[in-house]
């Protein structure tokens, strides 16, 4: 995965805005059901043609399924990615009536919102962050997304048109302003959502056991929580089947205390615990794993970050 510009994920990014608009038009015209048919055909084509996408999927599924991985497993994985990506469009358009969304743990978010207590919501490239966001906004949760945008600028331009309000709630990583804005959000009782399975905030990471290997996870979210003295909650939004999504939020740590001595060890312990939890989720919902690159590589290619469905946030 050294040539980052040529994987299918990377190439997708080169698609013109026009192309994306065309897809949006089709969605409007045809509706979700027909659009899903197109996506299935498209993903069959990708799965058959793109060796790297297959390798990335297979590499993950072999670790998680514990049995030989067949073409149809890989196809199911990549098709799920395509279908969830398609659903983002409908979620962004506010078409929540199309979906059956069940949620656990929203009492955490309701309580944080009611008491205006700031917190960090740690998501992952698992399932759909859009589904989470849609529910959050319908319940008045003040969620701001802290993430890299530059890699997915084109798609974002179009998504921003779909939901202008979302744009205002995205804090683009990089520089001092972004981190100060995150601070102000938490101080004013808002929620900062970020991804726990990709470095980005300050590029610092630690390698911890994950699905039978070792993978690098960022320490940034926990350093941020430590600096802001706020709790961290985990959020997941997994796609089940048909039109159903299951969302949940769980408490992870109330306060990140990093003692001056053993600071690194305390940080690593948190990251390890996060990786254990993420592993459980990945095992339960393997086809929702959308880090479609070699997650265990010594220096993981950033390509997956380009277009995994949630990175756009």
């Amino acid at each position: 995965m050294s040539d980052s510009g040529t994987t299918w994920l990377g190439r997708r990014e080169h698609g013109t805005i026009l192309g994306i608009r065309f897809v949006l038009m089709l969605c409007d015209l045809l509706g979700r059901k027909v659009a899903r048919g197109f996506v299935r055909i498209l993903m069959l084509y990708y799965t058959a043609l793109d060796r790297r996408a297959r390798a990335a999927s297979r590499g993950f599924l072999e670790r998680v399924l514990g049995r030989p991985v067949r073409f149809r497993d890989v196809l199911r994985h990549l098709t799920t990615f395509g279908l969830v990506t398609l659903d983002r469009i409908f979620f962004l358009r506010g078409r929540r009536e199309l979906f059956e969304v069940s949620a656990r743990g929203s009492e955490h978010l309701d309580a944080l919102t009611a008491s205006r207590s700031g917190a960090i919501l740690l998501g992952a490239h698992v399932g759909s962050f859009e589904a989470l966001r849609a529910r959050g906004s319908s319940r008045g949760h003040d969620i701001h997304i802290l993430a890299y945008l530059d890699n997915a600028k084109k798609i974002n331009t179009v998504l921003a048109e779909l939901d202008p309000e979302m744009q205002a709630r995205v804090i683009e990583l990089g520089g001092i302003d972004a981190i100060l804005r995150a601070k102000e959000v938490v101080e004013s009782g808002g929620l900062i959502a970020m991804l726990g399975d990709r470095t980005g905030l300050n590029e610092k990471s630690v390698r911890v056991p994950f699905l039978g290997g070792e993978a690098a996870f960022p320490t940034g979210p926990f350093l941020l929580a430590s600096a802001l003295r706020c709790p961290v909650y985990l959020v997941f939004g997994v796609y089940l089947e048909g039109a159903s999504y299951q969302l949940w939020c769980e408490r992870f740590v109330d306060r990140v205390e990093l003692p001056r001595k053993d600071r690194e060890a305390a940080l690593e312990a948190l990251v390890r615990r996060y990786a254990v939890r993420l592993e459980e989720v990945a095992r339960t919902h393997p086809y929702n794993w959308f880090n479609l690159f070699d997650f265990w590589a010594a220096s993981p290619d950033r390509v997956g970050q380009v277009a995994a469905p949630d990175s756009v946030n």
């Binding site: 001092i176 972004a178 100060l180 601070k183 300050n202 590029e203 600096a227 802001l228």
Partner: protein, 88 residues
């Protein structure tokens, strides 16, 4: 103690820089990137520490942030002007 020296001490304390002594920080050297090599979380910790120690809040809206965080000297200047503005 001049604000510059207070700041250097603050930087070492707040950011737990183990192999740096306050007097070893160059007042004009860049704090981020090639200088002290601080990152954005460090900037956040520093902003919080400055708020606590000097009562000066550094806001994300401030367009001069890049300039303010350039060096110890620029931070010291910002603290002085902010305090003067409040005091007057």
């Amino acid at each position: 103690m001049p604000i510059e020296d207070e700041l250097k001490k603050l930087i070492v304390d707040a950011l737990l820089l183990e192999d740096v002594v306050p007097s070893g920080i160059d007042t004009d050297a860049p704090l981020f990137g090639e200088g002290l090599g601080l990152d954005s979380i460090d900037a956040l910790e520093l902003a919080i520490a400055i708020d606590r120690a000097f009562g000066v809040r550094i806001e994300s809206k401030d367009e001069r942030n890049r300039e303010i965080f350039r060096s110890v000297r620029s931070l010291a200047n910002h603290i002085e002007t902010s305090r003067a503005a409040v005091g007057s």
